[in-house]
Symmetry: C2
DNA sequence: AATAAAAATATGAGTTTTCATCTTTTCATA
DNA sequence: TATGAAAAGATGAAAACTCATATTTTTATT
């Protein structure tokens, strides 16, 4: 690997115009999302789960027996990846596959007793964490954000059945 | 792979209590972020870049010559991954490494002419896309969200120098 | 000044993730 | 009621990612 060694005598080297990212909605949203989640995601790993696995548990906690495709969309996981995550969670005894009697292409995913217990624990921890997080933020920033993203989520998922 | 085949005669199989995710701040935020970004990320791929590469370009567009560690935090990319992404972008002629004269542990990343041009194009496309996106949303939802995440970003990054 | 601790980056190896594609099953329609 | 298109999942192979750790350089302490 060759690296030039150049003394920093050049001009401030910015974009010349207004900075972009501090005013870019998609960056700000992603960055805020990542920063806020970091802490709880760390906790999730402590509990022996990766973030996508936690998302799967949470989805099933709310609505057990979803099909893989739907789970994938809701949990923001690409389908073939979810298939393999489910393989692993199945092996670990957290959930199980059941073929849908009415449409045999579909595979429905159900939490096992163990998986349901873990999901319930984490959901309750997540709720508690959210309370603390919001309390830590100044003003009503947390409430504001929650109200706004709730409305937005409704709008953006308007087309989706259920 | 063994899959039970079970007829769906069981109870609605929900959590029994209030659904969690539709009221969970971190999920709503991540979900909204992903949904809003999807479209532009697709465009980025069309342009031959992966999302993390686009983030690197955007960061450097705003502030050329950043060191890898800082770039990693800002672009939400794990350090060793960023090192390799930079390898690739270097090979493609989009940016180059320069060792920092004053602190020779540091490697500063600079856009090449080509990289700067690509970054400028994408930034301008991103700005245009944001306008369209916000226009598409009902009420002042887009503006509301932007104002809120801007404040939040400030709060959450308060500790970070610059 | 010598030395320990910390910071910045790189790298090997193992695991994940992705992409395209395959199979199976259902749906639409001629 | 055949038949082609679409939907749901699974899977192989290649690429990307992560984790722990190594290396180099700087900073802080004695």
């Amino acid at each position: 690997m060759t690296i030039k060694i150049v003394e920093e005598l050049e001009a401030p080297a910015t974009s010349g115009t207004q900075p972009f990212l501090p005013d870019y909605l998609l960056f700000l949203t992603a960055s805020v999302s990542a920063a806020m989640s970091e802490e709880f995601h760390e906790h999730v790993r402590t509990r022996g789960l990766r973030v996508p696995e936690w998302r799967v548990l949470a989805c099933l906690h709310d609505d057990d027996g979803q099909m893989i495709t739907r789970l994938a969309r809701f949990a923001m996981i690409e389908q073939s990846r979810l298939t393999r995550i489910i393989d692993q969670m199945d092996e670990r005894g957290l959930l199980e596959r059941r073929s849908d009697k009415a449409d045999r292409r579909r595979v429905r995913i159900f939490l096992t007793r163990t998986g349901a217990r873990l999901a319930a624990d984490l959901v309750s921890e997540a709720r508690a964490h959210e309370k603390r997080l919001i309390k830590r933020l100044p003003d009503g920033l947390g409430q504001d954000l929650k109200a706004t993203v709730k409305r937005l989520h409704g709008v953006l998922w308007a087309g989706e059945q259920d």
